[in-house]
Amino acid sequence: MSDIRREMIILSGLNCPTCAAKLEKAVQSTPGVTEAKVVFGAGSLNVEYDAEVVSYEKIADVVSRMGMAVTARVPGSTSR
């Protein structure tokens, strides 16, 4: 069973493009995350994950460990 969810996470503290690339790698390597893209211009992390394997909180935790914070969440459509 898998419960795939998409979410756009609006970040604060995403101030340097290199941090964006690093956050992207860190989230991508989190088990259960199937897709992660940090959009520097938008200041957002677009993530697709299997809620059976990884929780949103776990992803938010990765974000805060990288020195950034979540300011808003926009759940995305799962039917693409």
């Binding site: 609006i10 938008a42 200041g43 926009v74």
Partner: protein, 592 residues
């Protein structure tokens, strides 16, 4: 104060400003990240060790100040998107039995009845099933005029109720609402890279590693710590990487707030190169609300019979003329004959079989010919005289005999002529009209709007519109097609740039188009085109600036003119400059 006091003071400043940087560097080091913060700390320690405490102070203070300014300006350029996110509905009032309960907007399911009170955000896309209200749709469509919504009206999420009471049956909920998709599409568009950015990315890829290795090499050869540190500081390609994205998101976000969704990336370059704009006529240049202006019965029939037969054939039709005929039938109290076996014939009309087994049809002369219904020369003359007035004349047949004629007219949108003038002012050489309607009706509208008759192609089937676009492209024209996104989908897909109107009503069009206008305001088209050009211009300026700064710094370091502090200052200043330049796109010159 003697020199050593100043020295100690500088060290104190460096420690005070450097402490948070060191903390950041250590945190990132634990995450196995080699950060700029670490670079700054190392550079500062190095500077103190070689007796240049002032340099350590300047570098750390600049880093802190620069970081603060960057986060402030970045937040500003991202504000357009943030405002969209903030305007998103968070909660919904849902009818559950006799109760109205407040739930998260993401817990609403399709089919729920949602209650909207004054001040509430509409949390779903759906149909009004009870009540009426005045809705502010500006956050979705960019239109400031409130919309009056009553039973049967379709409303979109993100609208605000200004007064009244609504019950809405939810059709699209949560992440699938128009508004939610809009936000996603804006963010995704910001991520698409124009060609100029992709070139830059390739440059940045080898830039940093080569400068870092150069700095090591420089130190090994010259043993000049200063020079090596200066190299390291300029190795961070901050402005190079930030140049395009900050401008893109500011530009795309600000136009989205005005109800114009421009998809980013290399589309911007295509939009900037457009020299021809092709418009669909019906529903695009015109209101698309055709009215029946005449019902002529041929000999042996009554207008009521004509209307009844036409209404039966059109009962199941999605065609834009159908609603006009059905509305007129209803207004005149004429009941359509019950019918079945509807057959829509593209470019011709519609045919159905009535309950008593007779064939009822509405369409053009080609349809009548196909059905074998004879049309006399007088009847043909009647058709032509209606068409000369700019009307669409639909022949009606019953049981294989032409029984009458229905004249239908559609008016140009009030802002159509102005939008065409504005496009010409914006340097669009050629305005073209492509329509499935007859040539006379098309010429009539073209004359009103100032479109040259040579640039009007009428009587086109959907696939012939594709051919018409290809013909234009074959002459070297770069064509933008404006349409409603449903009937025109093939032509839109063929054009160099597709512009879909009223996209808040058609999700598929919103996803597929290069430019999606959330409203039906035609003036948004010249705005969108000039805004796209502005975005591209700012992106190019930023790229030029970033590359220029890098070249300047490299040359400066090599010439021994740029040191750690001044290098850091120029570096931070260049990031600020590209961000500030991008911020200009938040403001849009508004005309009309």
């Amino acid at each position: 104060m003697n020199l050593s006091t100043v020295n100690w003071l500088m060290i104190a400043v460096a420690i005070a400003a450097g402490a948070p940087i060191a903390k950041e560097a250590v945190t990132k080091l634990r995450m196995r990240q080699f950060s700029i913060a670490l670079l700054v700390v190392l550079a500062s320690i190095g500077a103190v060790l070689i007796g240049e405490a002032w340099e350590a102070a300047v570098v750390t203070v600049l880093y802190v100040l620069g970081g603060w300014l960057e986060s402030r300006t970045l937040a500003r350029t991202r504000s357009a998107l943030r405002e969209l996110v903030d305007a998103m509905p968070r909660t919904a009032r849902v009818r559950r039995g006799d109760d109205i309960v407040e739930v998260s907007a993401y817990e609403v399911v399709r089919g729920d009845i949602v209650v909207v009170r004054p001040g509430d955000l509409v949390p779903v896309d759906g149909e009004v099933v009870a009540g009426s209200a005045s809705l502010d749709t500006s956050s979705v469509t960019g239109e400031s005029m409130p919309m009056e919504a009553g039973v049967g009206a379709r409303v979109t999420s993100g609208s605000v109720s200004l007064g009244g009471y609504l019950e809405i049956r939810a059709e699209q909920v949560g992440a699938d609402t128009t508004f939610s998709r809009l936000i996603y599409l804006v963010a995704e568009a910001g991520e698409q890279k124009p060609k100029v950015q992709r070139t830059l990315d390739r440059f940045a890829q080898w830039y940093t590693p080569s400068v870092i290795s150069a700095s090591v090499l420089v130190y090994l050869i010259s043993r000049d710590m200063h020079l090596a540190l200066a190299f390291l500081v300029i190795a961070c390609p901050g402005a190079l990487v930030a140049a395009a994205p900050v401008a893109m998101i500011a530009g795309l976000g600000s136009s989205a707030r005005r109800g114009v969704l421009i998809k980013g990336g290399e589309r911007l370059e295509r939009i900037a190169g457009i020299d021809t704009v092709a418009f669909d006529k019906t529903g695009t240049l015109t209101l698309g609300r055709p009215r029946v202006v005449a019902v002529d019965a041929f000999e042996g029939s009554t207008p009521q019979q004509v209307l009844a037969a036409a209404a039966s054939a059109e009962l199941r039709s999605e065609h834009h003329l159908a609603s006009a005929i059905l509305a007129r039938a209803e207004a005149d109290g004429v009941d359509p004959l019950p019918a079945h076996d509807w057959d829509l014939r593209p470019g011709q009309g519609v045919v159905a079989v009535t309950e008593d087994g007779r064939q009822a049809a509405v369409g053009n002369t080609a349809l009548m010919k196909a059905l074998g219904a004879a049309v006399s020369p007088e009847q043909l003359a009647a058709v032509e005289s209606r068409e000369a007035e700019g009307e669409t004349a639909a022949l009606v047949s019953l049981a294989g005999r032409a029984i009458g004629l229905i004249g239908i007219a559609d008016e140009p949108r009030p802002d159509a002529a102005m939008a065409i003038t504005a496009l010409r002012d914006a340097g669009i050489d050629r305005i073209v009209m492509l329509t499935g309607d007859n040539r006379r009706a098309a010429l009539h509208i073209g004359a009103v709007l100032g479109i040259h008759s040579d640039h009007i192609r009428a009587g086109l089937m959907p696939d012939e519109k594709v051919g018409a676009i290809r013909d234009l492209q074959a002459t070297g024209a770069r064509v933008a097609m404006v349409g409603d996104g449903i009937n025109d989908a093939p032509a839109l897909a063929t054009a160099d740039v597709s512009i879909a109107m009223g996209a808040s009503a058609t999700r598929a069009a919103m996803e597929a188009a290069d430019i999606a206008l959330m409203s039906n305001n035609l003036m948004r088209i010249p705005h969108a085109m000039s805004h796209s050009r502005r975005i591209l211009r700012v992106v190019r300026q930023n790229v030029a600036l970033a590359v220029g700064v890098v070249v300047f710094l490299l040359a400066g370091v090599l010439a021994g003119r740029v040191h750690l502090a001044s290098g850091m200052a120029v570096h931070e200043a260049s990031i600020l400059a590209v961000t500030l330049n991008g911020m200009r796109l938040l403001k849009q010159p508004r005309r009309g």
